[in-house]
Amino acid sequence: MQDILTLAGANLLTPTILCFALGLFAALARSELTIPEAVAKGMSIYLLFSIGFKGGVAVADHGLDARLVAALVAGLVLSFVIPFVAFGLLKAMTRLSATDAAAVAAHYGSISIVTFVTGSSVVQAAGLVAEGYMVAVAAAMEAPAIISALYLASLGGGRAEKIDADLWREILLNGSIVLLVGSFVIGMVTGEQGMARIEAFIVAPFQGVLCLFLLDMGLVAGRGMRNSKGVLTAGVLAFGLVMPVVGAAFGLAAALLLGLSTGGVALMMVLAGSASYIAVPAAMRVALPDANPSIYLTLSLGVTFPFNLVIGIPAWVAVAQAVGG
């Protein structure tokens, strides 16, 4: 426990977290500080490319782990299953309609890649090395939750759109999956040689770019909080704090079953405990248009994301060390 608090404290005073806090402050104080949309997208492309490539190179270095396929399957299963858990919790804790609850559940079954990126850098700062293929697991966990959620919504009487060919393509080939898997494969194919060529670009400036990106995340989350006053009841808010812990527990169980390294355990908890705010909201607008975006976006971006950044990630790392060491 002491360890966890110390780690959490150390994590709080890093430039990355403080940049997120600065963004939150600026937005809540209604400063007009903004980062242009195009620049924010550019940074997110950089982060995805970098994390994918590094994962691929790590796999090229250490050889293909027998557990890769098992880990991918575990990720898929988690993403399919967690929405049911989330839906159950929401039904118990809140008065959300079946449609809204299903939409929220989709977000928690899927993952937040920025949480994963931040988690990776905390894992690394703690001196741990995770399996390189965890980025592939992250990609695998993006989409399945959407299917579970649409099933839940239609069960609940909601008018979910059929998943037509277009929607399938949008879900499975959404930008972050393609970029993450693509750069992972490129890293795997080009290995250390490829890394040597572009290391100065994707490794050295990474933390700094992450700082500015989290500044933007803080601004976006803060503006969301301001605009959605009154949207979240106490029950919904509580869900946003409880669900990442529940998700992380599922992640822990899966990771232990798989026998991942300590770093891998931490990252699996980070993934399972995180909530999507990019791919899933877009899919929900198309497939569950009646669900209220203020609810799921505020929950995912305004409650669970900061919780994971500040408390979740350092806690999961500490848990992984306790369990693994």
């Binding site: 995805l48 959605s228 791919a279 909201p281």
Partner: protein, 96 residues
């Protein structure tokens, strides 16, 4: 200068629905349209990908208006957004 009667339709729609809308318009025989960006509100839903709202502007012959509106309405129906129609005139009718 010689002008021709037309209708100007302006559809403000969520960006994730844009391709569905334009596909429907093309199916309904619309020969051209212009997509304008809309300045974002909070819902920045796709940081790698599509986000926010867009405005689709379409000038068409009056007799085609109903087909266009039917097609657009089928897409927009359950979604947030606005469809507005104005009387207009166009030059170069051969392009419509």
């Amino acid at each position: 200068m010689q002008t021709h009667k037309a209708k100007r339709v302006e559809i403000i729609i969520e960006a994730p629905m844009e391709s569905r809308l334009t596909a429907a318009l093309e199916k309904a025989g619309v020969t051209g349209f212009t997509v304008l960006p809309v300045l974002g509100r909070w819902t920045r839903e796709g940081q790698v990908g599509r986000s926010g709202m867009v405005a689709v502007v379409c000038l068409i012959r009056p007799e085609r208006l109903d087909a266009l509106l039917d097609a657009a309405y089928a897409v927009v129906d359950r979604h947030i957004g606005v469809i507005g129609v104005t009387d207009a005139e166009v030059l170069r009718a051969e392009r419509f």
